[in-house]
Structure formats: C-alpha cells, structure tokens
C-alpha cells in the first residue's frame, strides 16, 4: 500500500488556488523533499496530507484512508515555527510529552513506555539538558527542535516537516538531518519542504518541485539539473509573484 496517494488534488483558499491537479505517491522508507518558491503551495500540500485542509477536488489518502480517519498518532507533523503561545505553562519536557497524547485513551496512565519515548526524543534532539526549561526561554532553533522532538516522541508512521531547517544554525541543521536520515533508514517515510537546494541531493531520496502543481519529480540531482526550479524562481524574480500573474481562477 502506498503511504501517501494524492490524486488530482485542488486546494482552494477563498478565491486563491493553492494547489491544482496535484498527483503524488509516496512509498515507504524514503525521504521526499519538496521545493518550490514562496507561496507555491508546499506547506499546503503537507497540510492536505495531514488532513488540516480539505481538498476542494481530488482525493488524498494516507495508508489507504482519508487522513482524518487514521488511527490517532499516525501522522507526525512539524509546522513552521508557528504562533503558539510561548507563555503557555509548559516546559520542554511537557511539550515533548504531548507527542504521546494522541495514543493515550481517556484515563490511560502515562506509563514507563511513554516516559522512555519522551526521554529518547529529548536525547535525539539534544534537549535533555533543557528538559525542565520553560518554553519561553528557548531560542528559535531550540523551539524548532522541541517541536521535532514532540513529533519523534509520537512514534508516527509518517513524518511531515515544514521547513524544519529554517532559522537553525548549521550544526543543528546537520544533526537534524542526520537524525531524519536515520529514521528513514529504519523505514519511516518522511516528507519535508525546504529551501536548501544545495543539500537536497544528500538529504532526500526523491525530490519534487511544486508550484501549484508538481512540475518535476525524481532523483534530486536529476531534478535540480533539469532546471525546472531555477526557471520558476527566475520567473518569480522577473515578474513578481506568480499568483499575481495568474490572478484568481
């Protein structure tokens, strides 16, 4: 069974078409990179797969089911550093522990296995020393790592990451991608958006270029050599935002 299958997906925000005619299949155990200019619908594609936005047309299935009908805990999602309330009464460990919540039924105990998963996730993201620190006292990169740790603690069957390397230093980026590669090696399918074209060939097994639709798809080096991405980026630079060119549908 395919991990992700998107067929003719169109996503509409009011009068703006974010995605149109997107087809994508993802098989197990590979890391798929998603690149595209700002506003190209990369994040929307992840949200559609996570069941956070519903397609206006077409279908998205994850493990053969609609994303909203999956067993709790199936999809791990790391959004771009978002506007959560950083004053929320929680330390780093509390936030990472939330990753276990979807699996726990009402009145279920937060058991030894859950604590061990949280410990492992904290260690994997080098957050053990910061575990008791309040989330408002973290740097941007540390906040990003805490959110990745929460997704890892969840032990998902599919991991979606939205530009997790944006705003982190080079060392953290390397550590993060090393961790993601090791998860992929153990069979976890990963979808990740990025702006970093230079590193894409070493990070991903497969790369797609998205600009409202999938413009190129294949081996990262081949896709980048094909020039699709540089062409649309050029176009964006010369003519301003692509959305403005096309106008509302």
């Amino acid at each position: 069974m395919n991990v992700v299958e998107a067929r003719d997906v169109r996503v509409q925000y009011e009068r703006v078409t974010a995605l149109d005619g997107v087809n994508l299949t993802l098989t197990s155990g590979i890391a798929l990179g998603i690149v595209g200019p700002n506003g190209s619908g990369k994040s929307t594609l992840l949200k559609a797969i996570a069941g956070l936005v519903l397609p206006a047309a077409g279908t998205v299935t994850v493990f053969g089911r609609s994303p909203r009908d999956l067993p709790p805990g199936t999809i791990g999602y790391v959004p771009q550093i978002e506007d959560v309330d950083w004053q929320f009464p929680a330390n780093v460990r509390d936030v990472v522990a939330m990753g276990r919540y979807p699996r726990l039924g009402p009145f279920a105990r937060f058991g030894a296995e859950d604590r061990a998963a949280v410990d492992r996730a904290l260690a994997a993201l080098d957050l053990t020393a910061l575990a008791q620190r309040h989330i408002s006292q973290l740097s941007g990169g540390q906040q990003q790592r805490a959110f990745v740790a929460r997704a890892i603690a969840q032990e998902p069957k599919l991991l979606l990451l939205d530009e997790p390397t944006t705003g982190v230093d080079a060392a953290t980026e390397d550590a993060l991608m090393h961790l993601i590669r090791s998860l992929v090696k153990n069979g976890l399918p990963v979808l990740m958006t990025t702006h970093d074209l230079d590193r894409a060939p070493e990070w991903f097994d497969r790369l797609i270029v998205v600009d409202r639709r999938v413009l190129a798809d294949g081996d990262p080096a081949t896709v980048l050599e094909g020039g699709t991405y540089s062409a649309i980026r050029e176009h964006t630079h010369v003519h301003g935002h692509l959305r403005a060119d096309r106008g509302p549908e």
Binding site: A50, G51, L52, L70, P71, P72, G73, T74, I75, G76, Y77, V78, P79, E82, V84, D85, F88, P89, A90, N91, D94, V95, M98, G99, Y101, P102, L104, P106, F107, H134, F147, R150, A151, Q154, P156, L160
Partner: protein
C-alpha cells in the same frame, strides 16, 4: 454554635457553603482552560445568554437550570458554528450571539406582567437562597463536568497549546472545542445562582489568572487556581455574612484581591531572581 462557626448554625448557610465550595472549585479549574485559550469573553457571553433561558423557564414555570442550560449550550455551539461557517471572527460571533440572547431574555421579561424580583437574583446571585433541590442539581452537574474534563484531560491540554498539530496527530480539535464550550455552559449554569450572571465570568477568569502569575506549569496552575477559587468563594461567603454584604460581590472582590496579591508576589520574586 457561636464565634467563628456562627454562620454554620443555619441550614441555609450550610447549603450555601457547600454550593460555594463546589462552584468555586469548578469555576476556577475550568477557568484554567478559559484563561489559556483566551475564552474570557465567551464565559461572559454564555452567562449573559443563559438569561434568556432563565426568563423563559421562569415564565413557563420550568426549572431555571434546564432553561439556562438549553440556551447556553445552543448559544455555545452556535458561536462555534457561526465562527467556522460564516467566517466571522470569534469575538464578533460571540458579541452578536450573546447580546442577541440576552436581549431575548429582556424582551420576554418585558412582555410579561409577572414580577421580576426573582430574576434579579440570577443577575446578581443569591447563594443564600439555594434550596436542597438546587444543591443536588449543582453537585450532579459539577460531577458530570469534572468527569468529562478528566476523561478529555490530554486532548484538552494539547488543543489548548497547539490545536493544529494536535489535529494533525489525530485529535479531533473541533470536537474538543465544542465539548469544552458545552462544559463551560454547564459550569456557568451551576454557578448562576451563587454568583449571578454579571459576576460569574470573574470566577472563570480571576483565580486562574492569579495562578498563572505564580507558576509556569499546567498542573500546578490548575491546582492553585482551584485553591484560589475555593478561598474566594467560601471565604467570600463567610465575609459577606460577617459584613452583611452581597455574597456574589464579596466573593468576586476577594478573588480580585488574591489576583493583585499574586501579581505582587510574582513581581517580588522576579526582582529577587534578577536584582
């Protein structure tokens, strides 16, 4: 009985103290979610909206809690529905619906020839008038709310902090939101007779806001808010007996005092940490 135990000599005072204890604890613990989710305006709105239910129930000779409950729950769910479907911002949708329902209550009352004295007690609270039957309703509803909150403890906490990621990971965030609004409605109904429509919002916000000044973890905030809620409601009721003042107002004033004391303590602590 004499001295400090004097108020407990009367059966109606005993009932009032039990009601105060339950209401103080329930409101302040629900208030933790109200404060963290920034729902203070909803709490106020639902309390006002329930007035329509009270007015209609009163004129039809029905149980007030039933009338208030139906209207508050319907309003709570409509607020969510209008917000999501009509793409109206949440505070606007609350503003429209709660004033509408409150106006309906006044409209219904104004067309009736019956006395409005009893309804006054719902606006300002009349904890001394809590009957044995009222007390049973209060306790049963409070236990129901507590049970549902306990069973949804983790989804409530996760969606309070990060609804988007909670939803992606398989928690039905909108369902949890709707359940919370219904629980909030029930909490308000439980509290109406004790503190009244105008003041119930304070018990939903003030103890939790005071607790948030003193701790940065969720469970301690929940517990501390509960302690502040009980001190306010039971202490306020006791003071109102001694001072011969309105109970609802005294309860809320005591809660307000605790809030400012917490801000003071928090400020002193911060100064010690960073001189």
């Amino acid at each position: 009985m004499s001295g400090i135990l004097a108020p407990f000599a009367f059966e109606f005072m005993q009932r009032a103290f039990v009601a105060a204890l339950v209401v103080g604890l329930l409101c302040s613990m629900m208030g933790t979610y109200v404060v963290l989710r920034k729902l203070a305006f909803i709490g106020d709105g639902l309390a006002h909206a329930s007035f329509a239910g009270i007015a209609i129930a009163y004129l039809r000779g029905l149980n007030y809690a039933f009338g208030a409950g139906v209207v508050a729950v319907v309003t709570a769910l409509s607020i969510g529905f209008v917000h999501r479907r009509a793409k109206v911002s949440l505070d606007t949708s609350i503003g429209v619906l709660f004033t509408g329902a409150f106006a309906l209550g006044i409209f219904v009352m104004s067309r009736s020839a019956r006395s409005t004295v009893d309804l006054q007690s719902y606006l300002f609270g009349d904890i001394l008038g809590v009957s044995r039957g009222d007390l049973i309703v209060i306790v049963v509803l409070a236990l129901l709310v507590a049970f549902v909150v306990a069973s949804l403890y983790r989804p409530l906490l996760y969606t309070s902090f990060d609804p988007t990621v909670a939803q992606a990971s398989g928690i039905h965030a909108t369902f949890v939101d709707d359940v919370l609004l219904v629980l909030l409605s029930l909490t308000i109904i439980v509290s109406l007779q004790s503190v009244g429509i105008i003041l119930v919002a304070a018990l939903l916000v003030t103890p939790a806001a005071a607790a948030a000044q003193l701790t940065r973890r969720f469970v301690p905030m929940l517990l501390l808010s509960g302690v502040f809620g009980i001190i306010s409601s039971v202490g306020g009721l006791y003071l109102s007996y001694e001072l011969r003042s309105a109970s609802g107002a005294t309860i809320v004033l005591l809660a307000t005092l605790i809030f400012f004391a917490s801000i003071g303590v928090s400020a002193v602590r911060r100064r010690r940490v960073s001189p």
